[in-house]
Protein backbone atom coordinates (compact mmCIF):
# COMPACT_ATOMS: atom_id res chain seq x y z
CA UNK A 1 0.00 0.00 0.00
CA UNK A 2 1.30 3.52 -0.82
CA UNK A 3 2.13 5.99 1.98
CA UNK A 4 -0.98 8.00 1.11
CA UNK A 5 -3.02 4.80 1.14
CA UNK A 6 -1.67 3.85 4.57
CA UNK A 7 -2.49 7.30 5.89
CA UNK A 8 -6.16 6.68 5.08
CA UNK A 9 -6.28 3.92 7.68
CA UNK A 10 -7.93 4.79 10.97
CA UNK A 11 -6.07 4.11 14.22
CA UNK A 12 -7.82 0.79 14.82
CA UNK A 13 -7.41 -0.25 11.18
CA UNK A 14 -3.68 0.50 11.35
CA UNK A 15 -3.25 -1.31 14.68
CA UNK A 16 -5.24 -4.32 13.49
CA UNK A 17 -3.32 -4.46 10.19
CA UNK A 18 -0.05 -4.41 12.14
CA UNK A 19 -1.31 -7.13 14.48
CA UNK A 20 -2.24 -9.34 11.52
CA UNK A 21 1.17 -8.80 9.93
CA UNK A 22 -0.28 -6.95 6.95
CA UNK A 23 1.75 -3.81 7.50
CA UNK A 24 4.98 -2.96 9.29
CA UNK A 25 5.39 -0.28 11.91
CA UNK A 26 8.18 1.14 9.79
CA UNK A 27 5.80 1.57 6.85
CA UNK A 28 3.30 3.34 9.13
CA UNK A 29 5.97 5.72 10.47
CA UNK A 30 7.26 6.37 6.95
CA UNK A 31 3.72 7.11 5.80
CA UNK A 32 3.46 9.69 8.58
CA UNK A 33 6.78 11.24 7.56
CA UNK A 34 5.70 11.26 3.92
CA UNK A 35 2.46 13.08 4.74
CA UNK A 36 4.27 15.56 6.97
CA UNK A 37 6.80 16.27 4.25
CA UNK A 38 4.01 16.85 1.77
CA UNK A 39 1.61 18.99 3.82
CA UNK A 40 3.03 20.17 7.15
CA UNK A 41 4.21 23.49 5.74
CA UNK A 42 0.59 24.48 5.13
CA UNK A 43 -0.70 23.16 8.47
CA UNK A 44 2.03 23.96 11.04
CA UNK A 45 0.79 21.31 13.43
CA UNK A 46 4.10 19.95 14.76
CA UNK A 47 6.35 21.45 17.42
CA UNK A 48 8.80 18.57 17.76
CA UNK A 49 9.36 15.59 15.47
CA UNK A 50 11.55 12.75 16.77
CA UNK A 51 12.13 11.19 13.37
CA UNK A 52 15.04 8.88 14.17
CA UNK A 53 13.61 7.75 17.50
CA UNK A 54 10.32 6.94 15.78
CA UNK A 55 12.02 4.83 13.12
CA UNK A 56 14.02 3.01 15.79
CA UNK A 57 10.86 2.32 17.80
CA UNK A 58 9.15 1.07 14.65
CA UNK A 59 12.06 -1.27 13.95
CA UNK A 60 11.84 -2.61 17.51
CA UNK A 61 8.09 -3.17 17.13
CA UNK A 62 8.53 -5.02 13.84
CA UNK A 63 11.23 -7.16 15.37
CA UNK A 64 9.12 -7.97 18.44
CA UNK A 65 6.15 -8.95 16.32
CA UNK A 66 8.39 -11.04 14.09
CA UNK A 67 9.66 -12.85 17.20
CA UNK A 68 6.09 -13.66 18.18
CA UNK A 69 6.00 -11.48 21.28
CA UNK A 70 2.66 -10.34 22.70
CA UNK A 71 1.85 -6.90 21.37
CA UNK A 72 -0.35 -4.16 22.79
CA UNK A 73 -3.63 -2.87 21.39
CA UNK A 74 -1.97 0.07 19.71
CA UNK A 75 1.25 -1.62 18.69
CA UNK A 76 2.99 -0.14 15.68
CA UNK A 77 0.80 2.97 15.46
CA UNK A 78 2.70 6.27 15.22
CA UNK A 79 1.28 9.17 17.20
CA UNK A 80 2.04 12.79 17.99
CA UNK A 81 0.56 14.47 21.06
CA UNK A 82 -0.30 17.93 22.28
CA UNK A 83 2.88 19.45 23.71
CA UNK A 84 1.72 19.45 27.32
CA UNK A 85 2.06 15.74 28.09
CA UNK A 86 5.30 15.47 30.00
CA UNK A 87 7.91 12.94 29.01
CA UNK A 88 10.88 12.77 31.30
CA UNK A 89 13.92 14.62 29.92
CA UNK A 90 12.03 15.83 26.80
CA UNK A 91 11.19 19.51 26.40
CA UNK A 92 7.50 20.25 26.87
CA UNK A 93 6.82 23.81 25.71
CA UNK A 94 3.10 23.89 26.51
CA UNK A 95 2.91 26.07 23.41
CA UNK A 96 4.57 28.92 25.29
CA UNK A 97 7.64 31.10 25.31
CA UNK A 98 7.82 30.81 29.08
CA UNK A 99 8.27 27.04 28.91
CA UNK A 100 10.24 26.92 25.69
CA UNK A 101 13.05 25.02 27.48
CA UNK A 102 11.06 23.28 30.20
CA UNK A 103 12.25 19.71 30.75
CA UNK A 104 9.87 17.81 33.03
CA UNK A 105 11.19 15.28 35.54
CA UNK A 106 8.33 12.81 35.02
CA UNK A 107 6.41 11.06 32.26
CA UNK A 108 2.65 11.50 32.11
CA UNK A 109 0.63 8.45 33.15
CA UNK A 110 -1.28 8.53 29.87
CA UNK A 111 1.96 8.46 27.88
CA UNK A 112 3.16 5.52 29.96
CA UNK A 113 -0.09 3.69 29.19
CA UNK A 114 0.16 4.45 25.47
CA UNK A 115 3.78 3.25 25.51
CA UNK A 116 2.67 0.04 27.20
CA UNK A 117 0.01 -0.45 24.52
CA UNK A 118 2.72 -0.22 21.86
CA UNK A 119 1.93 3.20 20.37
CA UNK A 120 4.97 4.96 18.91
CA UNK A 121 5.38 8.48 20.31
CA UNK A 122 6.91 10.50 17.45
CA UNK A 123 6.90 13.97 19.00
CA UNK A 124 4.71 16.86 20.02
CA UNK A 125 2.02 19.02 18.48
CA UNK A 126 1.20 22.69 18.31
CA UNK A 127 -1.40 23.99 20.73
CA UNK A 128 -2.83 27.18 22.12
CA UNK A 129 -0.39 28.77 24.58
CA UNK A 130 -0.85 26.98 27.91
CA UNK A 131 -4.02 25.43 26.42
CA UNK A 132 -5.87 28.69 26.96
CA UNK A 133 -7.68 29.70 23.81
CA UNK A 134 -10.51 28.10 21.86
CA UNK A 135 -9.31 29.19 18.40
CA UNK A 136 -5.84 27.64 18.06
CA UNK A 137 -3.87 30.89 17.70
CA UNK A 138 -0.27 30.67 18.84
CA UNK A 139 1.99 33.71 18.88
CA UNK A 140 5.15 31.77 19.67
CA UNK A 141 5.11 28.77 17.33
CA UNK A 142 2.82 30.26 14.70
CA UNK A 143 -0.88 29.55 14.32
CA UNK A 144 -1.82 26.01 13.49
CA UNK A 145 -3.85 26.18 10.28
CA UNK A 146 -7.01 24.34 9.38
CA UNK A 147 -6.22 21.66 6.78
CA UNK A 148 -9.54 22.41 5.08
CA UNK A 149 -8.58 26.04 4.55
CA UNK A 150 -5.56 27.74 6.07
CA UNK A 151 -7.39 31.04 6.57
CA UNK A 152 -9.71 29.42 9.12
CA UNK A 153 -9.23 28.46 12.75
CA UNK A 154 -8.36 24.91 13.71
CA UNK A 155 -10.11 25.37 17.02
CA UNK A 156 -8.23 25.15 20.29
CA UNK A 157 -6.66 24.56 22.43
CA UNK A 158 -5.68 21.15 20.97
CA UNK A 159 -5.12 22.77 17.58
CA UNK A 160 -2.27 20.56 16.40
CA UNK A 161 -4.09 17.41 17.50
CA UNK A 162 -7.18 18.27 15.46
CA UNK A 163 -5.22 19.42 12.41
CA UNK A 164 -2.70 16.54 12.41
CA UNK A 165 -5.45 13.92 12.59
CA UNK A 166 -7.53 15.66 9.91
CA UNK A 167 -4.48 16.01 7.63
CA UNK A 168 -3.75 12.27 7.99
CA UNK A 169 -0.36 12.86 9.57
CA UNK A 170 -1.35 10.60 12.46
CA UNK A 171 -4.41 8.53 13.20
CA UNK A 172 -4.81 9.72 16.79
CA UNK A 173 -3.42 12.29 19.20
CA UNK A 174 -3.90 13.27 22.80
CA UNK A 175 -5.73 16.51 23.42
CA UNK A 176 -6.91 18.12 26.63
CA UNK A 177 -10.26 19.72 27.36
CA UNK A 178 -11.04 22.32 30.04
CA UNK A 179 -13.72 24.30 28.19
CA UNK A 180 -13.94 22.53 24.85
CA UNK A 181 -10.30 22.12 23.84
CA UNK A 182 -10.77 18.61 22.43
CA UNK A 183 -14.26 19.06 21.00
CA UNK A 184 -13.67 22.42 19.33
CA UNK A 185 -10.69 21.36 17.18
CA UNK A 186 -12.48 18.09 16.49
CA UNK A 187 -15.51 20.02 15.23
CA UNK A 188 -13.53 22.60 13.27
CA UNK A 189 -11.12 20.12 11.66
CA UNK A 190 -13.69 17.39 10.99
CA UNK A 191 -12.45 14.65 13.31
CA UNK A 192 -13.77 12.79 16.36
CA UNK A 193 -12.91 14.20 19.80
CA UNK A 194 -13.83 12.67 23.15
CA UNK A 195 -13.82 14.48 26.49
CA UNK A 196 -14.30 11.76 29.11
CA UNK A 197 -16.10 12.07 32.42
CA UNK A 198 -14.24 14.31 34.87
CA UNK A 199 -11.87 11.99 36.83
CA UNK A 200 -12.09 9.15 34.24
CA UNK A 201 -8.52 9.65 32.92
CA UNK A 202 -5.64 10.49 35.28
CA UNK A 203 -3.84 13.78 34.84
CA UNK A 204 -0.48 12.97 36.38
CA UNK A 205 2.28 14.59 34.34
CA UNK A 206 -0.13 16.77 32.39
CA UNK A 207 0.24 20.56 32.37
CA UNK A 208 -2.50 21.94 34.61
CA UNK A 209 -4.85 24.70 33.54
CA UNK A 210 -7.77 24.22 35.90
CA UNK A 211 -7.71 21.67 38.74
CA UNK A 212 -11.48 21.24 38.57
CA UNK A 213 -12.16 21.12 34.85
CA UNK A 214 -9.10 19.66 33.07
CA UNK A 215 -9.66 16.46 31.11
CA UNK A 216 -7.47 14.21 29.01
CA UNK A 217 -8.81 12.54 25.88
CA UNK A 218 -8.19 11.57 22.27
CA UNK A 219 -8.75 13.19 18.91
CA UNK A 220 -8.95 10.54 16.22
CA UNK A 221 -10.70 9.57 13.02
CA UNK A 222 -13.56 7.45 14.34
CA UNK A 223 -15.60 6.62 17.41
CA UNK A 224 -14.10 3.14 17.27
CA UNK A 225 -10.63 4.69 17.51
CA UNK A 226 -11.77 6.77 20.48
CA UNK A 227 -13.16 3.66 22.18
CA UNK A 228 -9.89 1.76 21.95
CA UNK A 229 -7.81 4.81 22.88
CA UNK A 230 -9.93 5.53 25.95
CA UNK A 231 -9.72 1.90 27.03
CA UNK A 232 -5.94 2.26 27.09
CA UNK A 233 -5.66 5.57 28.99
CA UNK A 234 -8.62 5.40 31.43
CA UNK A 235 -8.50 4.08 34.97
CA UNK A 236 -7.21 5.13 38.36
CA UNK A 237 -3.64 6.17 39.01
CA UNK A 238 -2.01 6.58 42.43
CA UNK A 239 -0.30 9.73 41.19
CA UNK A 240 -3.66 11.41 40.62
CA UNK A 241 -5.84 10.99 43.70
CA UNK A 242 -8.74 12.62 41.85
CA UNK A 243 -8.84 9.81 39.27
CA UNK A 244 -11.98 7.67 39.51
CA UNK A 245 -11.79 4.09 40.76
CA UNK A 246 -14.53 3.00 38.38
CA UNK A 247 -13.84 -0.12 36.36
CA UNK A 248 -12.84 0.55 32.76
CA UNK A 249 -15.31 -1.27 30.53
CA UNK A 250 -14.57 -2.72 27.10
CA UNK A 251 -15.65 0.33 25.14
CA UNK A 252 -15.14 -1.34 21.77
CA UNK A 253 -17.50 -4.16 22.74
CA UNK A 254 -20.24 -1.57 23.21
CA UNK A 255 -20.09 -0.58 19.53
CA UNK A 256 -22.96 -2.73 18.31
CA UNK A 257 -24.32 -0.30 15.74
CA UNK A 258 -27.74 -0.70 17.33
CA UNK A 259 -29.26 2.42 18.90
CA UNK A 260 -32.90 1.47 18.52
CA UNK A 261 -34.97 2.78 21.39
CA UNK A 262 -32.29 5.14 22.59
CA UNK A 263 -33.67 8.41 23.91
CA UNK A 264 -31.95 11.66 23.03
CA UNK A 265 -32.72 15.10 24.51
CA UNK A 266 -32.15 18.30 22.60
CA UNK A 267 -31.53 21.02 25.12
CA UNK A 268 -33.01 24.40 24.29
CA UNK A 269 -32.56 27.32 24.21
CA UNK A 270 -28.98 27.95 25.37
CA UNK A 271 -27.20 25.80 22.81
CA UNK A 272 -29.08 27.39 19.91
CA UNK A 273 -28.78 31.10 20.75
CA UNK A 274 -27.48 32.95 17.67
CA UNK A 275 -27.00 29.69 15.79
CA UNK A 276 -25.91 30.16 12.19
CA UNK A 277 -28.15 28.61 9.56
CA UNK A 278 -25.69 26.09 8.05
CA UNK A 279 -24.95 24.79 11.54
CA UNK A 280 -28.64 24.53 12.41
CA UNK A 281 -29.37 22.65 9.17
CA UNK A 282 -26.51 20.20 9.68
CA UNK A 283 -27.67 19.60 13.24
CA UNK A 284 -31.23 18.92 12.08
CA UNK A 285 -29.97 16.49 9.47
CA UNK A 286 -27.88 14.71 12.10
CA UNK A 287 -30.87 14.42 14.43
CA UNK A 288 -32.99 13.04 11.61
CA UNK A 289 -30.27 10.46 10.94
CA UNK A 290 -30.29 9.44 14.59
CA UNK A 291 -34.08 9.09 14.42
CA UNK A 292 -33.77 6.94 11.29
CA UNK A 293 -31.41 4.72 13.24
CA UNK A 294 -34.12 4.22 15.82
CA UNK A 295 -33.44 6.89 18.42
CA UNK A 296 -36.32 8.83 19.98
CA UNK A 297 -35.75 12.55 20.21
CA UNK A 298 -37.41 15.17 22.40
CA UNK A 299 -36.72 18.80 23.19
CA UNK A 300 -36.23 19.82 26.80
CA UNK A 301 -35.63 23.18 28.43
CA UNK A 302 -33.81 22.70 31.73
CA UNK A 303 -33.96 25.68 34.04
CA UNK A 304 -30.60 24.73 35.56
CA UNK A 305 -28.72 25.84 32.44
CA UNK A 306 -28.95 29.46 33.47
CA UNK A 307 -26.78 28.89 36.53
CA UNK A 308 -24.57 26.30 34.81
CA UNK A 309 -23.70 28.74 32.03
CA UNK A 310 -22.78 31.47 34.51
CA UNK A 311 -20.75 29.33 36.89
CA UNK A 312 -18.92 27.53 34.09
CA UNK A 313 -17.41 30.88 33.12
CA UNK A 314 -15.86 31.32 36.58
CA UNK A 315 -14.06 28.21 37.68
CA UNK A 316 -11.34 27.66 35.08
CA UNK A 317 -10.75 31.41 34.83
CA UNK A 318 -9.85 31.68 38.51
CA UNK A 319 -7.86 28.47 38.65
CA UNK A 320 -5.87 29.39 35.53
CA UNK A 321 -5.09 32.83 36.96
CA UNK A 322 -3.95 31.23 40.21
CA UNK A 323 -1.56 28.84 38.46
CA UNK A 324 -0.05 31.65 36.39
CA UNK A 325 0.13 34.31 39.12
CA UNK A 326 3.90 34.34 39.49
CA UNK A 327 4.56 34.58 35.76
CA UNK A 328 1.84 37.25 35.42
CA UNK A 329 3.74 39.34 37.98
CA UNK A 330 7.20 38.71 36.59
CA UNK A 331 6.84 37.87 32.89
CA UNK A 332 3.48 39.13 31.66
CA UNK A 333 5.12 40.35 28.46
CA UNK A 334 6.10 36.80 27.57
CA UNK A 335 2.46 35.79 27.11
CA UNK A 336 0.49 36.48 23.96
CA UNK A 337 -1.82 39.49 24.35
CA UNK A 338 -5.03 37.47 24.41
CA UNK A 339 -3.72 35.12 27.08
CA UNK A 340 -2.39 37.68 29.54
CA UNK A 341 -5.69 39.55 29.12
CA UNK A 342 -7.68 36.42 29.84
CA UNK A 343 -5.56 35.49 32.85
CA UNK A 344 -5.75 39.05 34.15
CA UNK A 345 -9.53 38.89 34.32
CA UNK A 346 -9.28 35.86 36.56
CA UNK A 347 -7.84 37.96 39.39
CA UNK A 348 -10.97 40.08 39.52
CA UNK A 349 -13.34 37.26 40.45
CA UNK A 350 -13.96 37.17 44.22
CA UNK A 351 -13.03 33.99 46.04
CA UNK A 352 -16.55 33.80 47.48
CA UNK A 353 -18.06 33.55 43.99
CA UNK A 354 -15.47 31.01 42.89
CA UNK A 355 -16.32 28.85 45.90
CA UNK A 356 -20.01 29.35 45.30
CA UNK A 357 -19.50 28.05 41.74
CA UNK A 358 -17.63 25.01 43.06
CA UNK A 359 -20.06 24.29 45.88
CA UNK A 360 -23.02 24.36 43.50
CA UNK A 361 -21.36 22.10 40.96
CA UNK A 362 -22.65 18.88 42.48
CA UNK A 363 -26.20 20.12 43.08
CA UNK A 364 -26.36 21.56 39.56
CA UNK A 365 -25.11 18.29 38.06
CA UNK A 366 -27.89 16.47 39.92
CA UNK A 367 -30.45 19.04 38.81
CA UNK A 368 -29.33 19.00 35.17
CA UNK A 369 -29.47 15.21 35.05
CA UNK A 370 -32.93 15.29 36.60
CA UNK A 371 -34.22 17.96 34.21
CA UNK A 372 -32.47 17.03 30.97
CA UNK A 373 -31.66 13.34 31.32
CA UNK A 374 -34.50 11.74 33.24
CA UNK A 375 -35.91 9.40 30.64
CA UNK A 376 -33.05 10.16 28.28
CA UNK A 377 -29.76 8.47 27.50
CA UNK A 378 -27.97 11.36 25.83
CA UNK A 379 -28.08 15.07 25.15
CA UNK A 380 -27.38 16.39 21.63
CA UNK A 381 -26.26 19.89 20.71
CA UNK A 382 -24.24 21.54 17.95
CA UNK A 383 -20.55 21.62 18.96
CA UNK A 384 -20.37 25.26 17.89
CA UNK A 385 -23.15 27.75 17.26
CA UNK A 386 -21.30 29.40 14.40
CA UNK A 387 -19.50 28.20 11.35
CA UNK A 388 -15.73 27.88 11.71
CA UNK A 389 -14.43 31.46 11.98
CA UNK A 390 -11.36 32.77 10.22
CA UNK A 391 -8.12 33.20 12.13
CA UNK A 392 -8.26 36.92 11.38
CA UNK A 393 -11.71 37.50 12.89
CA UNK A 394 -10.77 35.79 16.17
CA UNK A 395 -7.28 37.27 16.47
CA UNK A 396 -7.33 39.31 19.68
CA UNK A 397 -3.61 40.04 19.49
CA UNK A 398 -4.17 41.92 16.24
CA UNK A 399 -7.42 43.54 17.36
CA UNK A 400 -8.77 43.44 20.93
CA UNK A 401 -12.28 44.00 19.57
CA UNK A 402 -12.25 40.35 18.45
CA UNK A 403 -12.47 39.37 22.13
CA UNK A 404 -16.20 38.64 22.10
CA UNK A 405 -16.00 36.46 19.02
CA UNK A 406 -13.12 34.47 20.50
CA UNK A 407 -14.78 33.90 23.85
CA UNK A 408 -18.10 32.90 22.26
CA UNK A 409 -16.54 29.88 20.55
CA UNK A 410 -16.73 27.68 23.64
CA UNK A 411 -20.29 28.61 24.64
CA UNK A 412 -21.66 25.14 23.79
CA UNK A 413 -18.78 23.10 25.14
CA UNK A 414 -17.93 24.82 28.44
CA UNK A 415 -21.09 23.86 30.37
CA UNK A 416 -20.21 20.17 30.07
CA UNK A 417 -16.83 20.76 31.71
CA UNK A 418 -18.57 22.35 34.66
CA UNK A 419 -20.97 19.41 34.81
CA UNK A 420 -18.14 16.90 34.33
CA UNK A 421 -20.16 14.90 31.79
CA UNK A 422 -18.57 12.76 29.08
CA UNK A 423 -18.99 14.49 25.74
CA UNK A 424 -18.00 13.76 22.18
CA UNK A 425 -17.86 15.83 19.00
CA UNK A 426 -18.23 14.00 15.72
CA UNK A 427 -18.26 15.31 12.14
CA UNK A 428 -21.80 16.00 10.96
CA UNK A 429 -21.49 17.96 7.75
CA UNK A 430 -19.84 20.89 6.03
CA UNK A 431 -20.85 24.52 5.77
CA UNK A 432 -21.24 26.66 2.66
CA UNK A 433 -17.52 27.56 2.87
CA UNK A 434 -16.40 23.94 2.91
CA UNK A 435 -15.49 23.86 6.61
CA UNK A 436 -16.61 21.02 8.93
CA UNK A 437 -19.56 21.12 11.34
CA UNK A 438 -19.63 19.11 14.56
CA UNK A 439 -22.38 17.29 16.44
CA UNK A 440 -21.90 17.20 20.21
CA UNK A 441 -23.31 14.37 22.31
CA UNK A 442 -23.17 14.16 26.10
CA UNK A 443 -24.02 11.27 28.41
CA UNK A 444 -24.42 10.74 32.14
CA UNK A 445 -21.21 10.37 34.18
CA UNK A 446 -19.19 7.33 33.12
CA UNK A 447 -21.53 6.80 30.16
CA UNK A 448 -18.73 6.83 27.60
CA UNK A 449 -19.70 3.40 26.26
CA UNK A 450 -23.20 4.61 25.43
CA UNK A 451 -21.83 7.80 23.92
CA UNK A 452 -19.39 5.92 21.73
CA UNK A 453 -22.08 3.45 20.64
CA UNK A 454 -24.22 6.27 19.27
CA UNK A 455 -21.25 8.05 17.65
CA UNK A 456 -20.16 4.78 16.04
CA UNK A 457 -23.68 4.01 14.79
CA UNK A 458 -23.84 7.50 13.28
CA UNK A 459 -20.49 7.02 11.57
CA UNK A 460 -21.56 3.68 10.12
CA UNK A 461 -24.28 5.55 8.22
CA UNK A 462 -22.40 8.74 7.29
CA UNK A 463 -19.08 9.53 5.67
CA UNK A 464 -18.34 13.01 7.06
CA UNK A 465 -15.50 11.57 9.13
CA UNK A 466 -13.95 9.94 6.08
CA UNK A 467 -13.48 13.13 4.08
CA UNK A 468 -9.83 14.02 3.54
CA UNK A 469 -8.93 17.73 3.34
CA UNK A 470 -5.55 17.04 1.73
CA UNK A 471 -6.01 14.08 -0.64
Amino acid sequence: MSPDGLSELSMTEAADAFARGEVTARALVEAMLHRLGKHEAQVNSVIRLDREEALLAAHAADKARGAGKAMGKLAGVPMLHKDMYYRRDRVSTCGSRIRRDFVPPITATVLQRLDAAGAIDCGTLNMAEFAQNPSGHNAHFGDCMNPWNAAYCTGGSSSGSGAAVAARFVTAALGSDTGGSIRLPAAMCGVTGLKPTQTRVPRTGVMPLSFSADNVGPLCRTAKDAARFLGVIAGPCPGDPTSAREDVPDYEAALTGDIRGLRIAIVEPWFFDDIEEPVGKAFEAAVIMLQRLGARVEIVNPGSLKAIAVYSALVSRVEGATIHARWMRERAGDYATHLSARLYGGYAIPATLYLEALSRRGPLLRLFCEEAMTGFDLVATPSLRSRVPTRAETDVDANPENWDRLMALSANTRPFNYLGLPTISIPAGFDDRGLPIGLQLAARPFGEARLLRVADAFQRETDWHKRNPLP
Partner: protein
Protein backbone atom coordinates in the same frame (compact mmCIF):
# COMPACT_ATOMS: atom_id res chain seq x y z
CA UNK B 1 -35.29 24.30 13.54
CA UNK B 2 -38.13 23.31 11.23
CA UNK B 3 -37.51 19.59 11.40
CA UNK B 4 -37.95 19.66 15.15
CA UNK B 5 -41.67 20.20 14.60
CA UNK B 6 -41.84 16.42 14.55
CA UNK B 7 -40.10 16.20 17.88
CA UNK B 8 -42.08 16.16 21.08
CA UNK B 9 -41.34 19.15 23.30
CA UNK B 10 -41.06 18.62 27.00
CA UNK B 11 -40.82 21.71 29.18
CA UNK B 12 -38.99 21.12 32.40
CA UNK B 13 -38.56 24.70 33.40
CA UNK B 14 -38.30 28.11 31.85
CA UNK B 15 -34.89 29.64 31.42
CA UNK B 16 -34.04 33.24 30.74
CA UNK B 17 -30.45 33.59 29.70
CA UNK B 18 -28.34 36.71 29.90
CA UNK B 19 -27.60 38.11 26.50
CA UNK B 20 -24.57 36.16 25.25
CA UNK B 21 -21.37 38.10 25.03
CA UNK B 22 -21.25 37.48 21.30
CA UNK B 23 -24.50 39.37 20.74
CA UNK B 24 -23.28 42.57 22.27
CA UNK B 25 -22.06 45.24 19.96
CA UNK B 26 -19.00 46.58 21.67
CA UNK B 27 -16.61 49.14 20.35
CA UNK B 28 -13.40 50.58 21.68
CA UNK B 29 -15.13 53.95 21.39
CA UNK B 30 -17.85 52.97 23.87
CA UNK B 31 -17.46 54.24 27.41
CA UNK B 32 -15.49 51.91 29.63
CA UNK B 33 -17.62 50.51 32.45
CA UNK B 34 -17.06 52.12 35.84
CA UNK B 35 -15.94 48.86 37.36
CA UNK B 36 -12.73 48.70 35.33
CA UNK B 37 -10.48 51.21 37.12
CA UNK B 38 -11.31 50.19 40.71
CA UNK B 39 -10.96 46.53 39.72
CA UNK B 40 -7.53 47.23 38.27
CA UNK B 41 -6.58 48.88 41.56
CA UNK B 42 -7.89 45.95 43.56
CA UNK B 43 -5.97 43.43 41.44
CA UNK B 44 -2.78 45.42 41.80
CA UNK B 45 -3.29 45.71 45.56
CA UNK B 46 -4.30 42.12 46.27
CA UNK B 47 -2.34 40.23 43.62
CA UNK B 48 0.54 42.49 42.60
CA UNK B 49 -0.49 42.08 38.97
CA UNK B 50 -0.75 45.05 36.61
CA UNK B 51 -2.97 45.29 33.57
CA UNK B 52 -0.88 43.74 30.78
CA UNK B 53 -2.47 45.43 27.74
CA UNK B 54 -5.69 47.07 26.40
CA UNK B 55 -7.26 43.65 25.90
CA UNK B 56 -6.88 43.13 29.66
CA UNK B 57 -9.10 46.15 30.26
CA UNK B 58 -11.66 44.72 27.85
CA UNK B 59 -11.55 41.47 29.78
CA UNK B 60 -12.53 43.38 32.92
CA UNK B 61 -15.21 45.33 31.06
CA UNK B 62 -16.68 41.97 30.09
CA UNK B 63 -17.49 41.30 33.73
CA UNK B 64 -20.45 43.71 33.63
CA UNK B 65 -22.40 40.95 31.91
CA UNK B 66 -21.14 38.27 34.29
CA UNK B 67 -21.98 40.34 37.35
CA UNK B 68 -25.47 40.97 36.02
CA UNK B 69 -25.90 37.25 35.42
CA UNK B 70 -24.71 36.46 38.94
CA UNK B 71 -27.15 39.01 40.34
CA UNK B 72 -29.97 37.15 38.61
CA UNK B 73 -28.90 33.93 40.31
CA UNK B 74 -29.04 35.36 43.81
CA UNK B 75 -31.76 33.63 45.76
CA UNK B 76 -32.23 30.94 43.12
CA UNK B 77 -30.24 28.32 44.95
CA UNK B 78 -29.29 27.68 48.52
CA UNK B 79 -25.64 27.33 49.31
CA UNK B 80 -24.65 23.72 49.85
CA UNK B 81 -23.06 22.88 53.17
CA UNK B 82 -20.89 20.18 51.67
CA UNK B 83 -18.57 21.66 49.06
CA UNK B 84 -17.05 18.30 48.12
CA UNK B 85 -20.35 17.07 46.74
CA UNK B 86 -19.27 17.00 43.10
CA UNK B 87 -17.61 13.56 43.12
CA UNK B 88 -20.60 12.17 45.02
CA UNK B 89 -22.90 13.69 42.40
CA UNK B 90 -20.89 12.03 39.61
CA UNK B 91 -21.55 8.70 41.32
CA UNK B 92 -25.19 9.44 42.07
CA UNK B 93 -25.94 10.49 38.49
CA UNK B 94 -23.84 7.93 36.67
CA UNK B 95 -25.03 5.99 33.66
CA UNK B 96 -27.02 2.96 34.91
CA UNK B 97 -25.04 0.67 32.59
CA UNK B 98 -21.66 2.04 33.63
Amino acid sequence: MGAFCMIHRRRVGRTRHPTPVSQRNRSMQMAEPKLVLPTMDAIRTWQGVSVPNPAGRLALADFEVLIAALEQLRGDLTLEEEPADFEAALQACKDPNA
